[in-house]
Symmetry: C2
């Protein structure tokens, strides 16, 4: 039942080398021979052994997908996109999740588990420290970052600063002046992380418009509960805010819930805008900066594949974000200017 390349060779009346060439579509094989080999392989139900092929060729046709979580909107979508792009090229995706431990500044990624096992590595949204990135690079595999690049490395992601500025500009153009920002934990935020960049963008746009930022930035967990808690904390100290820019849709939805908790209406009392394009946000009527996580996964995987073949790739691919206005933003009810 488990036939090997020699069985196919015998059945087709050729050598194993020819079988190998024929089946892999390499040149220097007659169409007739190739066809005969194919038929023999089919009839025997031959499937090559990846281990043997890897051992002999040094290539695994597998890439390592490393990520802190799979159960979050951005991550799940990137992973899904990447996996599908890889499968089209007959590459396998090996999944590695790592706890992101806020307490310990330990080495969170042990590159040795990847050694000799993959042809390339895709890092999804893992805000790594320099030393961790260097350890990964020491493996000498092609490396692509999605959603949380590292300076100087091949990256696909957003222009987070511009995204934030557009969101804030939208709010400001509507007439808002006290525009708060809900961001992530400061711990998670290395200088090149999306959270930090979005906060920078918010601050830049506010400043450019002569709007004050003091006391309007608040940090919390990057999820619904975090957004809700942050919004409550914010309202406690700044009941005058009329607009909020949240660094993710999940946080934005949390903010909306907090406002609802207090009997405040959206957008009548407070406008809210997020980032992502989360399905639930769409249904809740959340105005947001939409990004395409799935395609970022596809693109990153494709670039990795290119790098593996030795082809040149751009050092950075920036995906667009587009402002989608839904019901959660409007002109401020009471103008104080």
């Amino acid at each position: 039942m488990a036939h090997g390349i020699v069985d196919v060779a015998r059945a087709a009346g050729v050598s194993t080398a020819t079988v190998s060439r024929a089946l892999r579509g390499l040149p220097n094989v007659t169409a007739a021979t190739r066809e005969r080999v194919r038929r023999a392989a089919d009839e025997l139900g031959y499937v090559p052994s990846p281990s043997a092929a890897s051992l002999a060729s040094g290539r695994t046709r597998t890439i390592g997908l490393i990520t802190p979580w799979v159960a979050h909107w951005f991550f799940a979508n990137v992973i899904e996109g990447a996996e599908r792009a890889l499968r089209v090229e007959d590459f396998d995706a090996l999944l590695y999740t790592f706890e992101v431990n806020r307490e310990v500044r330990r080495m969170r990624v042990d590159p040795d588990v990847l050694r000799r096992r993959v042809d390339g590595v895709l890092v999804v949204g893992l805000p790594l420290e320099s030393e961790e990135v260097e350890a990964l690079e020491a493996l000498e595999y092609p490396l692509v970052f999605v959603g949380a690049g590292a300076p100087g490395r091949v990256t696909v992601g957003l222009d987070d600063v511009a995204t934030a500025r557009t969101a804030v500009a939208h709010l400001a153009d509507l007439g808002h002046r006290a525009i708060a920002h809900l961001s992530g934990e400061p711990d998670d935020c290395l200088p090149w992380s999306p959270a930090v960049r979005r906060a920078q963008g918010w601050r830049a746009e506010m400043t450019a418009r002569g709007l004050a930022v003091d006391g309007l930035e608040i940090h919390g967990h990057f999820d619904v509960a975090g957004g809700r808690a942050s919004m409550h904390a914010l309202l406690d100290r700044r009941p005058d805010v009329t607009a909020v820019f949240a660094a993710s849709d999940e946080m934005a939805m949390g903010a909306i819930l907090a406002l609802r908790d207090r009997g405040l209406r959206v957008p009548h009392d407070v406008s809210v805008v997020g980032v992502d394009g989360h399905e639930m946000g769409e249904h809740l009527g959340l105005t947001t900066m939409v990004q395409n996580a799935h395609d970022q996964g596809v693109t990153a995987a494709s670039m990795l594949l290119e790098m593996i073949t030795g082809a040149p790739v751009p050092p950075e691919v920036v995906f667009p974000t587009v402002l989608v206005e839904r019901g959660s933003t409007a002109r401020p009810h009471v103008t104080k200017s």
Copy 2:
């Protein structure tokens, strides 16, 4: 830099066979020898080649995780749980996603991509047809199903019938009589799929209580948009419903949005209960039958590992669901009994 087992053997002054035994914790190695080998391996930064090990041993220490999507609550959580359980045992998770095409009843899963590549297969929430299951079994790898078992196969999941009955009983006990059910696409629903079983449970409980079910069951996509659309369709033909049991939290949330679209209040006008324990539902105050998807992934992975070692495992593990009452259910406002 890339040292092999022979380098370690030489450095430790032993044979490669001893290195192999020592490093894998096999018996018949002196503690002293083992220690010496370990130290040599460490110093050389030796990492065994998985390909070579697989080729020689016939075992891959890898399991295939096959699933239709990763970007959905249940799937993402099961995958995350399974991957972590596997990594603890030094097993790798190979991710395979398959399009679930509603149009074509084609063979959606090509088992050959798994051949010689894994030691076992975990099927996550893929409602497979008998022939597909048989094709998978033909690989002769240990096989575990999570969330959508097949009759007679090793399965971890819920008692979907009982879960549905509990949800319906909760609604009925509150005094509701016109209790609708939002279910999935009939196409997706093989007899042993969770959607069908939940519908069965709903019908059973309704019937047991002498409540009519005609015109109260509606099918749609298993997500927020689907739930919303289904709820609208339902209200068009049965404006008298006072309660809804949705087969998932996402559908339940969609239903809530539909009710809001029409100016109906939850739970004042209509009570809603879902299934899952989705984070967003928690924040929206959705009453639901909570299940633990993450632990189902952990359990399924552990069982698969047991099966690989030849250990016996129970043919079916049923996870509990618990009714968590939040704000979306209440007594009907107008009693019509």
